[in-house]
């Protein structure tokens, strides 16, 4: 069995930067999800309440 690690081991600084980028992407995605939701409501307008139950 080979116990040696595969691939490149990142430095602490590189780990920190990757984490910061991941958080930024998560925030952008969350922002987009909220925006899409709100825009959908706005586009549908008052009609959103006018549906058969």
């Amino acid at each position: 069995m080979n116990d040696k690690p595969e691939g490149i081991v990142l430095t602490e600084e590189q780990r920190r930067r990757r984490r910061a980028r991941s958080i930024a992407i998560a925030l952008v995605l969350a922002g987009l999800a909220i925006l899409f939701y709100v825009v959908t409501i706005v586009k549908i307008g008052p009609q959103i309440l006018n549906r058969p139950l």
């Binding site: 116990d3 040696k4 690690p5 691939g7 490149i8 081991v9 990142l10 430095t11 600084e13 590189q14 930067r17 990757r18 910061a20 980028r21 930024a24 925006l35 709100v38 825009v39 706005v42 586009k43």
Partner: protein
């Protein structure tokens, strides 16, 4: 329990540190040219507010966001294409790609994703015509200006300036669905403002542009011709700046302010022309460059504020 041999770990850590450095979030933000983006958002906002049509605030915000991201995408694609030039100029050598913080391929895909995303979103949520204009603006800036004109002709920023002039028109179109004469006037103001603004900078950074092989007007035709052209374009810009008031699209406040600002712009341009060589000439070019930014900002700020003042 870790079975990793310490020496192997240390060796891999060193190898990773020697490889391409991982970019920070701010490097990607820098790719978007945030200062250019802020001017684009501001002028687009003026187009939106002055348009004779109401747009729901959420949709107006979405339109501005799309225009901002589209402008940012243009900036990223421009930095991808111009990385070799940027590396040779002191003003741009520390940009993320020439500084080695972001790989060119990353910048390319980042720009393409943002460009297509912003155009798609604007088309779906706001309007197809505005989206088409945004797509054309990105294409114009990246392909016509960056790839074709910039390294080929001293008229690069004259024609390429159209890319920077489109945002108020896109804002206007987002609200109305059409291109009005009013938005065409806003386009023309920025279009004729661009040459004196950039040539004042080019007079200051002539050596940089010459080293990078960019045929800016002072490099190709000399400082004297550049100063003459600055005055000529300023002579067109000053009355154009007043035109929205003359055509009745803006009020008296704008009319008076734009006339005074236009006069000051002309004086500053004549000062650049009169000074010739030496330290005084450099100072005059620097003053014109600074004032040109203030001029455009104030014109659009008054256009924005006028409906609120009444």
């Amino acid at each position: 329990m870790s079975l990793v041999n310490d020496s192997v770990l240390a060796e891999r850590t060193v190898r990773a540190a020697e490889g391409a450095d991982f970019a920070e979030v701010r490097d990607y933000f820098e790719l978007l040219k945030p200062r250019v983006m802020s001017l684009v958002v501001f002028t687009a906002l003026v187009g939106l507010v002055r348009a004779p049509a109401e747009l729901h605030p959420v949709l107006a915000f979405t339109a501005l966001l799309c225009i901002a991201v589209g402008a940012g995408a243009s900036g990223a694609l421009n930095m991808w294409w111009d990385a070799d030039i940027d590396a040779r100029m002191s003003r741009t050598a520390n940009r993320p790609i020439p500084a080695g913080r972001i790989e060119p391929g990353e910048a390319l895909s980042f720009g393409l994703v943002l460009a297509s995303g912003s155009v798609l979103m604007l088309g779906l949520f706001v309007g197809l015509f505005a989206a088409a204009l945004l797509a054309f603006t990105i294409f114009f800036y990246v392909v016509i200006y960056s790839m074709w004109l910039k390294r080929w002709t001293p008229q690069n920023i004259v024609i390429g300036g159209a890319a920077g002039a489109f945002p108020p028109m896109i804002g206007w179109t987002a609200a109305t669905g059409t291109v009005g004469i009013e938005s065409l006037l806003l386009f023309l103001i920025i279009f004729f403002w661009t040459p004196p603004h950039f040539w004042a900078l080019a007079l200051l950074k002539k050596d940089d542009y010459a080293r990078a092989g960019v045929p800016m007007l002072p490099v190709v035709a000399g400082d004297g011709e550049t100063r003459r052209q600055i005055v000529l374009y300023s002579l067109i810009l000053a009355p154009l700046g007043v035109a929205p008031a003359l055509f009745g699209y803006a009020g008296t406040t704008y009319g008076v302010a734009s006339a005074l600002l236009g006069g000051a712009f002309l004086l500053s341009a004549f000062d650049v022309w009169r000074r010739g060589e030496g330290k005084a000439a450099v100072a005059a070019a620097r003053r014109l460059f600074g004032f040109s930014i203030l001029y455009l900002f104030l014109l659009f700020a008054i256009l924005l504020a006028e409906p609120l003042i009444g």
